[in-house]
Amino acid sequence: MERRELLRRTLFGAGTVGLRSLATGLPASMFLRPPSAWAQSAAEAKMLILVASQAGDPVNANCPGAYVDGIVHPTGEDFLPTEIRLGDRNHIGARAWTQLPQRVLDRTCFIHHGTYTNAHGNHSKVMTLMGAVRRNEMLISAFAKRLRPAFQSVQTEPVNVGAPLLSFEGRRLALLRPQSVKAALASNDDALARLQSLRDAELDAMYASLKVDGTPQQIRMMDRFAQTRSEARNISEDLLDRLDAIQGNGDGDQVRAAAVLAAMNVSPALALNIRFGRDNHNDGNLADEVEETVAGVGHLASLHAQLEELGLADKVVVATLNVFGRTLSKKGTQGRDHNAHHHVMVVSGPGVRPGVIGGIQPRGNDWGSTGIESGTGVGTDQGDIPYEQTLESTGKTLGRLLGLPEEALNEDVDGGKVISAALA
């Protein structure tokens, strides 16, 4: 059955299922099979949109929790120390962060921690929590595997519209530029589209012929071809129309693509890249940091707004993870170097208790993260999470926010513990 025909039938022949499907963007099959589609309960399982970068952006330099004496911030109104209400407390951060609406801030937490490396080349390792995720899987991919049964998304592998160097079970994930996503998924309605079913059937027959004498690897590849084709046929058409707004491959277009792909339920985990100042060693007057931080927070706000429009505000957790943070005071306003000891994950979404977790303290000739008291979120070296476990703990906390049970997280990640203070 053609996709359009299927949609017509579900729209007009099966009650409101099709309408609900179109409204939410989730494949109609999910609503027809709610028990299996939401096996782990939609209230618990959340999709992940990970904003990842290997540039080591200075997110850590201006967010709530980073405005203490001795830390250098850019000048200008957007970086004036500003009270930002996170739950029942105000925290000082750059005014730029107030671009996030209060309803988003009310479910946003800034977790200060270390990534233990100052090398760009360790981006892939940071994505595995520096090797703490079992079998050296990347965190996003380990979570995707856990979440897929709950969402029954069309594929388990994360979809990456702009983040660098992601892998799944050791395989590099293809980078899907937003403009290419738009071009690839656009639908036709002509004679060739009407012959699609016939072609698919003949192709399956072709595969069957070839499998007779095929090697296991050849057979596996042909099975994969059939599977991906089937997945491609199952995407809701009205969401494809939303891709029309994509004009390029920039941060804003990645945000748009990620939101739509989340609504398509293509994967339980998506990744993109939003710039917050990048690798700004020689950023005189921190000009790039100013420009990109303001724009970056704006893109985060836009992402949340689009998720709300798509009815996904309570289904998606958005988090940032960079290879490292940047130095906070060393070079003044002449740019920032790599900081292995301080990074901030900004995590927003349902189930997040708003606030600032962890803290910073002088370290060497700059600043680094403290340990964390998991119950209160206070930054202290006397807490139950030492500095050396803050990255693993941040990863596990993100997993818990996605609805994964602690036992599963302990199976997937060595060390660290869930920071309960970050959970609503």
Binding site: H120, R171, L195, M221, H338, A340
Partner: protein
């Protein structure tokens, strides 16, 4: 990143036929399918290595080899933005598309050089040590200007060209021959006319540029874009001609002997004739090319550590590991911040810093010629993978890399990874290929023949650590060569905007910062699949009705789809079965369309287009190894 602890794979459960293996190899090399004679020869036990030698000589093999070299030497991601950074310019716009042409020259230069090294059978290790490069006149001009227009370690700009000039004057009224404008002996030296600008902007006054931008203004004027012109968006007539961007030739860049002057960028007519460029700034091998330098832009923090590590990755397939610590013979090149052995940085920096000194002795951190005697006097030492040697500047680094014993094996592995999609086992077969490479005097084509005919690639024999023949999707460069060469349609992946938007969804091989393994995608997903389908649809609309795919002769068109596009010659064991599938689909499709309307021609055309898509999506086109 590959899983370092993979589950044990089932080893060699079933092996592919020699025909399948040969088909994979020919497709990899050329995009073409086996012809009937080759099918027959293989069925009669032909030597694959001999066939590989024949395929290497086909014209279709050259662009594929070029692409492999460009990616593996990390030369193909250079962009115009990097050109602006290298020259500290906010804008490097030149006449019409001259800036794009110049960027392309810079991007292609070393890949063309490496291609020539391979084609001429020169020792492949020259990729690290050569000082002779494929260049155009336009690129030579840029290199000569770069040599005298330098940024020092502090980022301060200096001009040391002879003669220097205090001002550049653009005259709105005078007509000055450009040859006089660039002639230091002429009274109109650095006086330019742009009457064509005054036509566009009638009230344009003469402009004098006497600040620090005057040198760049003059250089850009040679390329038709005077800096500081107030007639925005307009160009003057450039002295550099379009053919100056296409006159590729081998040019040796060498430093002056004694008091010998450097070649002047002002003398364009001589530059057009030159095959030697005398410059103070040394250029050696792949790792000092403008493309490599612009891709891995250093800064005063990483101070060429990045470039050094990427050079090691390209030459030796190895990168620094933090755990691997050697104490250098001297520590004056070690950054103070990392000189304390108690810090976590020490292990890596203690070796990186003396090694990056080879770059520092030759270049400032802003990629200008290094003139600071203190920096030049600071010792450089190569300490990596069992080799320890001192030297001076990038020339010695190139020499050391070229002679490094790990280089031959590294390039066997690079090629094998490129073919199979992941690193190959380095057992006896691998070592035999490496030995053949060394014994041939580092002849790349000899190594390529030995590798492609070996079980490492064919999978036709079970070898230690092997898993049989690797199967993967046809990555972008392979898919496009398959479509272009089998359809005899060079623009197959670029003939309209829609196809150009779709192609990036098909992954291509790439490199990444600090990563030894290239980025290679071997499995498809819904986006790759969707993009392939859309590309095939576009091609079907374009090709059906053209030569070889007549609408009025469905039988011939179906046969062309099977034998041409799918690449199954009449004597191929799969030919008849696949012909049956495509024929069957054509008949079913035609019948379905006929039921809906009576337009026989349109229905035949659409049924043939659908048959074309079927063939285009078959494993013989979208995968390699089936």
């Amino acid at each position: 990143m590959p899983d370092p602890n993979p589950e044990p794979e089932p080893v060699c459960e079933a092996l592919p036929t020699q025909l399948t293996a040969a088909s994979k190899v020919k497709t990899f090399l050329t995009g073409l399918a086996l012809d009937p004679e080759e099918v027959q020869a293989l069925q009669e036990g032909a030597d694959l290595e001999v066939l590989v030698g024949q395929w290497q000589a086909l014209p279709q093999a050259e662009p594929k080899l070029f692409r492999f070299l460009a990616t593996t030497l990390q030369q193909d991601e250079f962009s115009g933005d990097a050109l602006e950074d290298l020259f500290d310019q906010g804008n490097f716009a030149l006449y019409q598309n001259y800036d794009e042409m110049l960027t392309q020259n810079l991007q292609e230069s070393f890949s063309r050089t490496a291609l020539l090294i391979v084609q001429q059978g020169l020792p492949f290790d020259r990729i690290a040590s050569t000082q002779t490069f494929m260049m155009t006149t336009a690129m030579m001009e840029l290199m000569a200007f770069w040599d005298v227009y330098i940024l020092d370690d502090a980022g301060d700009r200096a001009y040391r060209g002879q003669p220097d000039f205090e001002r550049v004057v653009f005259h709105a009224e005078r007509n000055i021959p450009v040859v006089d404008s660039f002639n230091p002996e002429h009274p109109d030296f650095m006086n330019f006319s742009y009457p064509e600008l005054s036509q566009d902007c009638p009230n344009l006054p003469s402009i004098e540029v006497s600040n620090r931008n005057r040198h760049m203004a003059a250089f850009r004027h040679m390329f038709g874009r005077p800096n500081g012109a107030r007639c925005l968006g307009k160009n003057t007539t450039p002295w550099v001609r379009p053919e100056d961007f296409s006159d590729w030739r081998l040019v040796t860049i060498r430093t002056p002997n004694g008091d010998e002057p450097v070649d002047s960028w002002l003398d364009l007519p001589s530059m057009r004739q030159d095959t030697t460029l005398v410059l103070d700034t040394p250029r050696v091998g792949f790792f000092t090319s403008p493309s490599f330098t612009g891709t891995w832009l250093t800064n005063d923090s990483n101070s060429f550590r990045l470039n050094l590590n990427q050079a090691l990755i390209v030459a030796l397939n190895e990168s620094f590991e933090e755990e691997d610590v050697i104490i250098p013979a001297f520590d004056d090149a070690l950054d103070d911040a990392h000189a304390n052995p108690s810090t976590s940085c020490y292990g890596c920096h203690s070796r990186l810093d003396p090694m990056r000194q080879f770059f520092r002795q030759s270049y400032s951190t802003f990629n200008g010629h290094q003139t600071n005697p203190e920096v030049i006097a600071t010792n450089a030492e190569f300490i990596f993978a069992g080799i320890r040697e001192t030297g001076v500047g990038v020339e010695d680094l190139g020499r050391i890399l070229a002679a490094h014993p790990d280089l031959p094996g590294a390039w066997v592995q690079k090629l094998c990874t490129h073919v199979n999609g992941h690193a190959c086992p380095t057992g006896e077969v691998f070592q035999a290929v490496e030995a053949a490479f060394v014994e041939s005097g580092m002849d790349f084509l000899t190594m390529q023949r030995a590798l492609l005919a070996s079980p490492l690639v064919t999978g036709t024999e079970c070898i230690e650590g092997g898993t049989g023949a690797e199967v993967g999707i046809a990555r972008s460069r392979h898919l496009c060569s398959i479509l272009a060469n089998r359809l005899d349609f060079p623009q197959a992946c670029a003939f309209n905007g829609r196809v150009r938007d779709l192609v990036p969804s098909i992954p291509d091989d790439a490199f990444a910062r600090a990563a030894v393994e290239p980025v290679v995608i071997t499995e498809d997903d819904i986006f790759i699949r969707s993009a392939e389908e859309k590309i095939c649809e576009e091609l079907a609309r374009n090709r059906i009705g053209q030569d070889g795919f007549p609408i009025n002769d469905p039988e011939a068109t179906v046969l062309r789809i099977v034998e041409g596009l799918m690449g199954l010659s009449s004597n191929h064991p799969q030919h008849d079965a696949m012909l049956g599938h495509v024929q069957s689909h054509f008949e079913s499709a035609k019948a379905q369309l006929d039921e809906a309307n009576g337009n026989d021609f349109a229905n035949r055309r659409d049924a043939l287009r659908s048959s074309f898509i079927l063939g285009c999506l078959s494993p013989f086109v979208v995968s390699m190894g089936i």
